[in-house]
């Protein structure tokens, strides 16, 4: 991760390098920070997953204790969703969206850095639970009363509540930032209906974040007040009600599922279209389908609660609403297939992941429709069938999509091409391992295995399938390990990726050098249609038409304040658990930083654009 030429004052050596990364407000660098942090948490979550699978490899296995097992499942779920999947999504959004809309940066570069550091310190706080020996253990859904102090008296769930609260603030800031960026910073000519599909997906995802995360915030506040200040939201004896938590959690939680999957849809649309050399089939329908999915996503949360006892009317309504989501999703799948139809499909590693996504996600989608049927869900609910289903959507869908996106945009982010052979090898290990792991889990559920069990009795017909599942998990691990090897090998190679390394790039990011210069575009481009870069290439142009004359480029100054604010939140999180004085100190740090940011105007600095250098354009 080398830093490139920087026009502001830079300090030499390691500390200068570190300072550069701690203070950066450049969306491309923040994207890399998100990718590194997300990758780190992904490794944590992956180790947890592997331990879970090893424990379940044999009946009545005693590799790990029941307590530890519950800690593992809780941390695995929480880490993977909030600390691995979300940041990698933000990594791609940061790396790509400003480039795709022809912008120099996001709307709020400072807030962008703040969002990252807040997320990072929230995640760190949550994972410090391992070191402190008091680990969350009530499942990632944290249903009370199991998650209240009456049944979980140690600080484990406090780490969950406070860590997620802090990470959630970061995510909310990111969501607002990307909405504002996409609304206000599109290049001239880039109308909404000319935006690349990934940008659309990012826009809708950001909107979902803005409207869904506050509900989680309130849920976590209520849980925190219950746990720390003796409130009674979920205390049945004092008139509280546990179902409130389930409603609030899933009112956030279901949109969260679409927050996760929509960016993957966006990635697939880009990758498949590029490697088929064809424009996206039915672009406007795709946009409409995305909006519809997001809208319906808010009206289906109670399908996670069919067995809670909401009554037949609610169950019927939520069943039908849930089934309705299958329609726009189905439209998307067929539009991808017909994007490839008549195209000229190139099987790069990125495209393999994207193509692998389609059947895998379809299988996750159809089991989703099966789950939507409330009476049958009485059987599936909280069984391994559900585990199989949501791993098909979140791993088979989201993670596969993210891996496609990472392979696809890696040259734009780092200026180097990932090794194709290793990429393909990792794909085959990953996809075969994935299906081995999770396909059998549907049947385990149907044969009567509940989820979240630390072990199971022999002689119930579970043994073989659990063994197969564990072998699959090991294969998947190999696939991911090959990917990491690929990353390491690639980082050692020279940085010589071309502007448009896939040669069939369609959108604006492929018109500029890889990696993009600090200011992205020397001149803000004029966008003349959908797939703007493709259009220019087809007309024989070597560059985008500029929308402004060459001139000094204004850049925002780096700042250490976002990092300090993250630290402030971190201190305050600890303080809420152990000593309220520190909670206050942490929050005061945050407020003081906010005031400092307001008082001292950021005048930024200017980059004088040089004449095009030969070295900048790849030979």
């Amino acid at each position: 991760m080398a830093a490139h030429a920087h026009a502001v004052k830079r300090y030499p050596g390691f500390w200068g390098w570190l300072w550069d990364w701690l203070t950066t407000v450049d969306h491309k660098k923040i994207g890399i920070l998100y990718l590194v942090a997300g990758g780190l948490f992904f490794v944590f979550g992956g180790i947890e997953a592997l331990l879970i699978r090893l424990q379940l490899m044999f009946p009545m296995n005693d590799l790990i204790s029941e307590d530890f097992y519950n800690e593992l499942i809780t941390m695995h779920g929480t880490t993977m969703i909030f600390l691995a999947a979300m940041p990698v999504i933000f990594a791609l959004m940061n790396a790509v969206v400003p480039l795709q809309i022809g912008a120099r940066d996001v709307a709020f570069p400072f807030v962008n850095a703040l969002g990252f550091w807040t997320f990072f310190f929230g995640g760190l706080l949550l994972n410090l639970a391992w070191l402190m020996g008091e680990v969350p253990d009530a499942g990632w859904t944290a249903y009370p009363p199991l998650a209240t102090t009456a049944y979980s008296s140690h600080h484990g769930m406090d780490y969950y509540v406070l860590g997620l609260q802090i990470a959630g603030i970061g995510t909310l800031l990111g969501g607002i930032n990307f909405m504002a960026t996409i609304i206000n910073l599109r290049a001239p000519g880039m109308t909404f209906m000319r935006m690349p599909m990934f940008t659309w997906a990012s826009f809708i995802t950001s909107a979902l974040i803005v409207f869904a995360f506050p509900a989680l915030t309130v849920g976590l506040v209520a849980m925190m007040f219950d746990r720390i200040f003796g409130a009674n939201f979920f205390n049945v004896d004092a008139g509280g009600n546990i179902v409130l938590w389930e409603h609030i959690f899933w009112l956030f939680g279901h949109p969260e599922v679409y927050i996760l999957i929509l960016p993957a849809f966006g990635v697939i649309s880009e990758v498949i279209s590029t490697f088929s050399r064809k424009r996206l089939f039915g672009y406007s329908t795709m946009v409409f389908a995305t909006i519809l999915i997001a809208f319906l996503g808010f009206m289906v949360w109670a399908h996670h609660m069919f067995t809670t006892g909401l009554g037949p009317v609610a169950n019927a309504l939520f069943s039908i609403a849930t089934m309705a989501i299958a329609v726009p999703t189905g439209i998307k799948v067929f539009n991808w297939l017909f994007t490839m139809w008549g195209g000229s499909i190139r099987f790069t590693a990125a495209n393999l992941y994207a193509i692998g996504f389609i059947p895998t996600f379809v299988m996750g989608g159809v089991t989703g429709v099966m789950l939507a049927s409330a009476p049958a869900d009485f059987q599936y609910h909280d069984s391994y069938f559900v585990v199989g289903h949501f791993h098909y959507t979140i791993v088979g869908g989201l993670v596969t999509g993210l891996l496609a996106g990472i392979h696809y945009w890696w040259p734009k982010m780092f200026g180097r091409m990932l090794h194709e052979g290793l990429g393909k090898l990792s794909f085959w290990f990953y996809i075969i391992g994935f299906h081995l792991t999770f396909f059998v889990q549907h049947f385990l559920g149907l044969l009567g295995m509940p989820r979240r069990v630390a072990t199971y009795l022999p002689n119930q017909g579970f043994d073989t399938m659990n063994l197969v599942s564990t072998i699959g998990a090991i294969l998947m691990t190999v696939g991911i390990a090959v990917f990491f090897v690929n990353v390491v090998i690639t980082s050692l190679k020279p940085r010589h990726a071309a502007n448009d390394p896939w040669e069939d790039g369609r959108t604006l990011e492929w018109a500029i050098p890889s990696p993009a210069p600090e200011y992205n575009f020397k001149q803000i481009p004029l966008v003349r249609g959908l797939d703007a870069w493709w259009k220019e290439k087809m007309e024989g142009n070597k560059e985008l038409p500029p929308a402004e004359p060459l001139g000094p480029i204004h850049m925002p100054s780096p700042s250490i304040l976002p990092f300090i604010m993250g630290v402030g939140f971190f201190i305050s999180g600890f303080g809420f658990m152990y000593n309220l004085v520190f909670a206050v100190i942490g929050l005061v740090i945050v407020l003081v930083c906010m005031a400092l940011r307001s008082i001292f105007d950021d005048h930024g600095y200017h980059i004088e654009p040089e004449e095009p250098k030969k070295g900048e354009v790849a030979a």
């Binding site: 609304i183 409207f211 509900a215």
Partner: protein, 204 residues
């Protein structure tokens, strides 16, 4: 377009929207208010769910005093109006007037906050504490979150006043005035629903 293109004395008619940064700020803040709407909505739904879970504590109709609530409502409503006047003064580039109205706004906000603290104190003496019941927890969380927003608004507008005194009204400071005013109105609108749903409907 950067802040440097505008110099003092050549302030545009709507200085808050003169720069891209200003427009970004206003848009981003509106989106934040969308999130705040959900935040308060969730708190309202928790309150509504628990409005009857009073246990041994005082019931809402015994607890709430209409005259007090009415005074608080009027104070906040007037402060919202003075906040509009501040923005109007800004549009006319009358910095002094603007600062005056902002000062009035935060003064009224402080009165509101003082009354709320007094009110909470009274309730606690009547046995309506944070931990009494699910109803009391939900009440204090909802109304307390609103009070926290008022307190933050006072600090914020105060800081903006100090900045204007130091830097004057420019295209950099104008968006701060505008955005803090929008925030203040939003708090007032939330209070409209609090006095309706919590206090008045609790007395019906």
């Amino acid at each position: 377009m950067s802040a440097h293109e505008h110099h003092a004395g050549a302030l545009p008619p709507e200085p808050e929207k003169a720069t891209l940064e200003g427009r970004n700020k206003i848009l981003g803040f509106w989106l934040f208010l969308g999130a705040e709407t959900v935040l308060f909505g969730t708190l309202f739904s928790a309150y509504l769910a628990f409005r009857n879970s009073v246990l041994d504590g005082p019931k809402p109709e015994e607890l709430f005093q209409l005259p007090m609530t009415f005074i608080m409502t009027v104070v906040l409503l007037v402060s919202s109006l003075t906040s509009v006047f501040a923005v109007q003064a800004m549009h006319r580039h009358k910095t002094g007037q603007m600062l005056g109205w902002m000062a009035v706004t935060i003064a009224l906000g402080a009165v509101f906050l003082g009354l709320e603290i007094y009110e909470f104190n009274e309730y606690a003496h009547e046995g309506h504490r944070f931990t009494t019941s699910a109803f009391s927890s939900a009440f204090y969380t909802l109304v307390g979150f609103h009070g926290g927003h008022v307190a933050f608004g006072i600090l914020w507008i105060g800081l903006v006043i100090l900045q204007i005194l130091k830097k004057g009204l420019t295209v950099v400071t104008a968006p701060k005035v505008y955005v803090s005013a929008i925030y203040w109105h939003f708090i007032d609108v939330v209070w409209v629903f609090i006095f309706t749903v919590v206090y008045l409907m609790g007395k019906v």
